[in-house]
Amino acid sequence: MKKTWMGAAACLVSGAALLAGCGGGSTPSSSGPGPAFSSKATNGGTVTVAFTSNIETLDPGQWTDVTSMYPMQQIYQNLVTYSPNNATIVPGAATYTVSKNGLTYVFNLKPGQKFSNGDPVTAQDVKYSLDRVTSYNASGSGPAPYGFAYSDIVGYPQWNNNGKAPAAGITGLSGVKVTGPLQVTITLQKPAAYFLNTLALESAVILDQAVASKYTPNTYLLHAVGSGPFEVQSWNRGHQLVLVPNPHYSGPKPHLSKVVMEENVAYNLQILRFKKGQLDMVNGPIDSSIYGQVLASKNLQNLYHKVSENGIVYLGFNTTKAPFNNVDVRLAVNYALNKALISKNVTNGRGPLAGQPLPPGMPGYNKNIKPFPYSPTKAKQLLAEAGYKNGHGPTITMIYPSNESSHTQTADIVQQELDAVGFKVNLQAMSQVGSYWPFEDQASNNWNLAWTDWFQDYPDPQDFAFNLLSTQAFGATNVGNWTNKQFESLINKADNMPASQDSQRWALYQQAETIAHNDASWAFLYYYWNDALIQPWIGPAKLSYYLHPVEQPFFNLIWTNHK
């Protein structure tokens, strides 16, 4: 028997929904002093936003960065998507049913949907898109950075083949089948409660096969066509990308007649241009260099909004060798660090203190676990128990990426505080290597402590537990190869349960969190947050439209009354 998951039932699928409450489109809480929004719905007008970086791509096979999500979310549609109100998965381009064993997903595309060039959206386009993003050469230079997200689909190992060309006769994911002109059936190798979340990622957007197959990924990105609410009007790479409404979009028409996304605008310029009314938003997290201006100005404070974010900053321990193969030494570090001071200096106190891997917005977060208190005395005592007596702690090397001043600042504080309890810390600055830097240096294994951070890929605890702490992520995203048998068996069990058993899953993750805390899997520092400045002429007053737990601003739902 199959069950249609829609509306309230879909709440079970996604994590943060439980915390946010599934009742009535709850929004993340704002700590601002009741900022103003425009309540008058108006059609027409332009919204301008700016980024300090480049929009790297519009190709799902190349996508990795948050900046590119801004246009991609508007141009494309996914089979499923997030509710604009919270982190609940809702039908996107398709409605869906899931088999009871959690292995078979049937998607029925809503009829009459068209790409911005007028081509109809078909089941074959969906199949093509999923085959493309999981292929060994999806990015044009290798596999897609997010191709791994679909590794649970039947046939993935053969088709992706670890980045090598597949064997003859294998032409796509055998687990993705076109079962009707508008119907796609996906079969998984094992139940995966987070699977729908992966389909909502920018890597799983639906491409127009007729267009995408004409280009290589490196040239397609300049001809991107999707079935979302907006289409690309122009893109002068490195300067600005302009979106206008997609005339063929079958959903509700956007209020805005244009969205301008400016690239490479430094923070100092963003704040000046925002004050002049030339920018409609300053996107977060607001850089510390301009946050001071927000604090200093009553006007800006009224336009400031903050929400929590599913991300964490921590220090990974190299547990493959002494001294951090000893839990007492790992605990000593956790007690020796003044996390409140680090958060104050590095985030202006905006980052909440951490005591476990999962952030508070994530299901499975164990609210009974408190961050380790700051206690140099306790740290010294633990070091003594570990055999480092009379304040003669071990000499360790800490690596950190020096591409942002906040990382260097954190490393300096960590060095001071660990030195104070007897460690001798050598700091080694690293450059930001690729998207995840400590990995490369793990091979040489000459480090003990590594500054690391993680943002959710999707709001499911599996994203943290599996990627950061499982043995399967050894030598990769499990920085320092921490492991614990009990933890591993708990998360293995939880990761392989269908979404229908979410409440049991969350309980398993909560138990696992206790183990990670007690065994000091990391030195926990602080959680991420997200904040933004939004002009008062922007509406409606729905904070999640601008600061969503997963997505970027929903430009298709907002309006402007700027004269």
């Binding site: 990015s139 791994f148 980045g163 990924p217 300067h239 490479n264 430094a266 990995f439």
Partner: protein, 306 residues
């Protein structure tokens, strides 16, 4: 003269070659793995090895250097940027005109400030005015560009909105050029001042005065014209330097030239792009040096290359 030009150009090529080799070694000594950039944080070690194999990243560095050089020299291929997904040469050539525009505007700004100040300082040597102007130029040269730049934006972009708040445009060049000009004019001022003082002591100036020419005519026809020779030659070197050295100015003003591109490339440890920009900038400096040497001979007939 012909032989000199050929010899000078050959040495310039040798210099550029050495720069390529040294930059290549430095860029690749920094731990950065293009395979990781391509495949992302989640990729398994076996996938990374596969990309390494496909791109030849496992080869010894001298083989890779040889590959790079042969691609560069035979095909003009500067490599591929895996972050922006386009050829490095395309990115460098797209950004270079903006930097050239800003560099020329900056040299103009430097001269607009430096020429009058230098002339006044020289003809009023050791006066209160001369001393004050010299102090001012020292202050100018001591102010970091990120500070003057931010100040310019605040005053002339925000408080008195005469110019746009950053970005590439015709009028948008004024503020970044001025902030480079304020810092860079100090050297021109000193150069012009000392050159003027030297020229003013020349016999032909005394002769001109003795012939009864008006002081203004002596100053502009005989002194300034001759004193400008070192300034003009320095302009060439300056222009070359600015082509490679506007990282901070371009970043503050969101001026999407080579400097801003380099800033991103360094932040991402994007080896191929760092190489490409360095190569381009270094070549600009070396070529301008050669041109200056050659032009110098035409400007100053006393100099002859043989």
């Amino acid at each position: 003269m012909g032989r000199y030009i050929i010899r000078r150009s050959l040495w310039a090529l040798v210099t550029i070659f050495i720069i390529i080799v040294v930059t290549y070694l430095i860029a690749y000594a920094v731990p950065s793995n293009p395979a990781r950039i391509i495949a992302g944080s989640h990729a398994t070690p076996s996938t990374i090895h596969e990309i390494d194999r496909a791109l030849g990243l496992y080869k010894p560095i001298y083989v890779r250097l040889y590959d790079y050089l042969s691609q560069l020299l035979l095909h003009g291929n500067m490599g591929f940027d895996y972050i922006m997904h386009q050829p490095v040469s395309k990115m460098v050539l797209a950004a270079a005109p903006y930097t050239l525009y800003l560099a020329i505007a900056s040299v103009c700004a430097e001269l607009i400030i430096a020429v009058p100040v230098g002339i006044i300082s020289a003809i009023k040597q050791y006066s209160f005015l001369d001393n004050s102007l010299r102090v001012l130029t020292i202050i100018g040269v001591s102010m970091p560009t990120y500070w003057t730049g931010s100040l310019m934006l605040l005053i002339f972009g925000f408080l008195i909105p005469l110019f746009p708040l950053g970005g590439v445009s015709l009028a948008g060049v004024v503020l970044p050029a001025l902030s480079v000009g304020i810092t860079g004019s100090a050297y021109y001022t000193r150069l012009l001042r000392s050159s003027m003082l030297e020229v003013m002591r020349m016999d032909y100036v005394r002769t001109a005065r003795a012939k009864g020419l008006s002081p203004g005519r002596v100053l502009f026809r005989h002194v300034v014209r001759n004193a400008l020779v070192p300034v003009v030659t320095y302009m060439g070197l300056d222009l070359g330097n600015l082509m490679g050295g506007l990282v901070i100015t371009e970043t503050i003003f969101s001026w999407t030239g080579l400097g801003l591109l380099l800033n991103h490339a360094l932040g991402n440890v994007d080896g191929a792009l760092i190489m490409g920009i360095t190569l381009f900038s270094a070549s600009a400096i070396v070529i301008m040096n050669v041109l200056v040497d050659i032009v110098y001979a035409f400007l100053d007939p006393r100099i002859s290359y043989s």
